[in-house]
């Protein structure tokens, strides 16, 4: 038997090792906001749907921690996170939505289909607020304490395992 016959297997194992390593690596491909720990910038957004008011940065100063959810009706992962937002709402969490580059008609259709966990939904046609709070994609979710300070940023869709983390962050923001 020749050692040369083992070369392909060896090369292949090398590739497998590399690929497996890469798969297990967390992707550091998200841009964390530098606004975490800082106060919200001032903004006012018109309503994005017919049945919820718009959003004003002053809404976040009433002493109660809230979630600020950046989403859009054209965003597929936002559908994925809808049940988790619903679950958070059931837990008594107040969720404020900001719809990015969206149309009221699409927003309404999305909400009738996937549920409406929001108390307010602002319409951010130019992604101004999104950029202002340091979010670089959709969806993202921020924990804002009762004094308008960003306490925590969640990037990407909220999966089931993230719900307790967000609840914990909200509890921390209370103190």
């Amino acid at each position: 038997m020749s050692w040369r016959l083992w070369v392909p297997l060896l090369l292949f194992s090398g590739f497998l090792g590399l690929a497996a390593y890469q798969l297990t690596q967390p992707k550091d491909d998200v841009v964390e906001s530098r606004m975490v720990g800082r106060e919200l910038p001032y903004f006012t957004l018109p309503p994005a749907s017919l049945d919820r008011p718009g959003v004003d940065s002053r809404d976040f100063y009433d002493g109660k921690p809230k979630l600020l959810n950046i989403w859009a009706s054209w965003c597929l992962p936002c559908i994925a996170e809808a049940p988790q937002l619903e679950a958070l709402k059931e837990q008594g969490v107040e969720i404020v939505g900001v719809a990015i580059r969206d149309e009221p008609v699409d927003v309404m259709r999305f909400l009738t289909q996937h549920g409406n966990p929001y108390t307010r939904i602002g319409r951010d046609d130019l992604s101004e607020v999104q950029l202002g709070i340091g979010s670089s994609g959709v969806p993202e979710t921020f924990v804002i304490d009762g004094k308008g300070v960003i306490r925590y940023q969640h990037i990407g869709d909220i999966r089931e395992e993230h719900v307790p983390i967000l609840l914990e962050e909200l509890r921390k923001a209370e103190s």
Partner: protein, 651 residues
């Protein structure tokens, strides 16, 4: 109910795959006459039928837009035209995996049903391998990507109305590539079967060859179509970008091309036994690797939020199991396979070996370039590898391969002398030199396109030389196939080289009524007007173009804005003449009311895709030729057996 029938059929098929595997293994242990071994072939045939039913059920739920099925709700919409509803069935992860196993199971049924050339033990091992591979994909489907999953509450309306995806090209492109991948999986099973039973014979190569040819034809078509799609859809004027998705389809093609040629050496001359087995494994591993790279998002990580990492792991696991297993078997067994027939370097085999080596080298170059970002990312350095790497490095091996392609088909099997083909070689070299001088000295073309043009011309003529002195009517179809495929490659190469050597580009900001020119074309921007479509608005630039003072043609490239989902696309316009294409794109307006216009004149660019089609046509002819010969041989054998039986009766 329909979805449940589909799911049940799928589970039953998976159970039959287990039976097929068990039957094959039993045949290997206890001999092919054991009771369970007799079930292997029927299990494969029945399995094909069941999976076809499952796929038909999926088409059905998409056709009627059953919104209680999750996959339909996610990917379809009641307002879609029927054709896109149906194509939506495989235009997503789950559906495409089901299509994959459907094709695979049908292929398995076909070999179980009709393939009787090989010794039964080898066939049993082949079917066991095929069942084992299929089983992995059933597990993948049923455990992590069930296409028939129901929603707890039916959705009110589907989500899949993305205009970008309602494109007939996108509907047909993935299945074409899948047929290719699956064909290579059959070749893989044959290779494993032959390796297990140490039965690497010309008959094995003949049984495997139609599958390789079929796979190769589909891959060729898939790559050609994908390239044209990128060309007209992206509006960048390029036809090949060397991005991982494209490389994922090119690598199996390179491996399949090498396998095709080495299998034909094995079939005709009983040489290159071990090498053919190796290529059989490599070709399928390239298909799976491509699928893995695209699906796992490991390279571009485009899928970070879109794709479940579980899926990447699953495919990697299957890759490790099948390819790792096959390579282990190869390492253990290949040493015991006796060396095949010998041959001299100046022979058809010799040329084919050189061609195989060159193809493998190109494959290695593409593979390394594709995986390199993966490697550097492990060290936290982000790179992208593009044409500056791929073009020159692969060219180092492409041109020697083309040279061998011109000469190889002229040589005889086993042993030949260079002097016998010296006239033909002299002609080819003379053509090459003349072309080099004309394009190099007279028109000052850069090195790579210069080589491309010259080799294309020389090879284009040389590819017909094998027909010299033969009565054209009596040339076997398979030989026509080879000639046309080789000629097609020369044609495609001429298109690529000409595009890169002679394209002219004009980028201008034009006010309405202003004129410009690109190459021999005169272009006038007449007006820019808004147009509205069902879900988009666009600015359309009406231009009048005329070739060399000829009759003006009106064209209207657009810059389109879609709503829901919000995106902008450029709708380029192509004006095709026999000698090239005018490519026009309109951009945005600058503040002073001028419009950005980008124009290319690309001489002979269409030859790239015509060449690709010719290559595929060559493959089809070769396939027809091989299958016909096989059928004839089979009929002859049957007649012979019948006569023998009669003789025995008489005596």
């Amino acid at each position: 109910m329909i979805a449940e029938i589909g799911l049940a059929a799928l589970w039953l098929a998976a159970a039959l795959a287990v039976l097929q595997l068990a039957g094959g293994l039993a045949a290997l242990r206890a001999g092919e006459n054991s009771d369970i071994a007799a079930l292997t072939r029927p299990a494969a045939v029945l399995q094909g039928g069941l999976v076809a039913i499952a796929f038909a059920m999926l088409l059905w739920v998409f056709a009627i837009t059953d919104l209680s099925v999750k996959l339909v709700a996610m990917n379809s919409h009641t307002a879609k035209p029927l054709i896109f509803k149906l194509s939506g069935a495989w235009g997503n992860h789950e559906g495409s995996m089901l299509l994959w196993v459907t094709v695979m199971a049908l292929a398995g049924a076909l070999i179980a049903g009709i393939e009787r050339r090989l010794p039964e033990k080898t066939m049993q091992a082949t079917l066991a391998a095929q069942g084992f591979v299929a089983l992995g994909f059933y597990a993948f489907l049923l455990l992590s990507s069930n296409p028939f999953e129901r929603l707890p509450e039916p959705a009110l309306e589907g989500l899949g109305l993305n205009p970008l995806l309602q494109d007939i090209g996108l509907a047909l492109h993935p299945p074409t590539l899948y047929f290719g991948y699956v064909g290579l999986s059959v070749a893989f099973s044959f290779a494993v079967g032959a390796l297990v039973t140490r039965n690497v014979t010309p008959d094995f190569a003949r049984a495997m060859r139609p599958w390789i040819l079929g796979a190769w034809v589909f891959l060729t078509l898939g790559i050609t179509a994908g390239s044209y799609w990128a060309y007209y859809e992206l509006g960048w004027g390029g036809y090949w970008f060397w991005d991982p998705v494209e490389n994922a389809s090119l690598m199996p093609w390179l491996a399949a091309t090498a396998l095709l040629h080495s299998a034909s050496v094995l079939a005709s001359r009983d040489a290159l036994r071990v090498w053919t087995i190796m290529l059989g494994v490599v070709a399928f591993s390239m298909s799976m690797l491509g699928t893995f790279l695209v699906r796992s998002g490991i390279l571009t990580s485009v899928h970070a939020f879109a794709v479940d990492p579980e899926r990447g792991s699953f495919i990697l696991f299957l890759l490790a199991l099948y390819i790792g297993g096959a390579l282990l078997l190869f390492a253990l067994r290949a040493g015991t396979i006796s060396e095949g027939e010998r041959f001299s370097i100046a022979s058809r085999e010799g040329a084919l070996v050189v061609n195989n080596v060159m193809l493998s080298a190109i494959l290695a170059v593409v593979l390394l370039g594709t995986l390199y970002p993966l490697l550097t990312e492990a060290f936290d350095v982000r790179v992208s590898v593009g044409p500056p790497y791929f073009n020159p490095v692969s060219a180092v091996f492409v041109f020697p391969m083309l040279a061998v392609m011109a000469v190889g088909p002229l040589l005889r099997w086993r042993r030949d002398s260079w002097s016998r083909v010296s006239k033909e070689m002299a002609l080819t070299v003379a053509l090459l030199l003349v072309a080099l001088v004309i394009f190099g000295v007279v028109s000052q073309v850069a090195l790579l396109p210069l080589l491309g043009l010259s080799f294309a011309i020389a090879l284009g003529v040389a590819s017909f030389l094998p027909l010299r002195g033969r009565s054209l009517r009596r040339v076997p179809i398979a030989v026509w196939g080879m000639v046309i495929a080789h000629f097609g490659l020369a044609v495609a190469l001429l298109g690529m080289a000409s595009e890169s050597a002679f394209s002219t580009e004009r980028l201008a900001a034009l006010a309405e009524g202003e004129r410009t020119s690109v190459g021999p074309w005169a272009v006038e921007l007449q007006a820019v007007e808004p147009v509205a479509g069902p879900n988009w608005t666009a600015m359309a630039a009406r231009m009048e173009v005329s070739y060399d003072g000829g009759k003006p043609i009106e064209i209207e490239p657009q810059s389109r804005n879609f709503w829901a989902p919000a995106q902008q696309t450029t709708e380029s316009v192509l004006v095709t003449r026999w000698n090239g294409q005018l490519y026009a794109v309109v951009g945005s307006s600058s503040n002073d009311g001028r419009w950005q216009v980008r124009l290319w004149w690309k001489p002979l660019v269409t030859l790239i895709w015509y060449g690709g089609l010719l290559v595929a046509l060559g493959g089809i002819l070769a396939l027809i030729g091989r299958v016909r010969t096989d059928l004839k041989r089979r009929t002859a054998a049957r007649k012979g057996a019948a006569r023998r039986l009669e003789m025995e009766k008489i005596s």
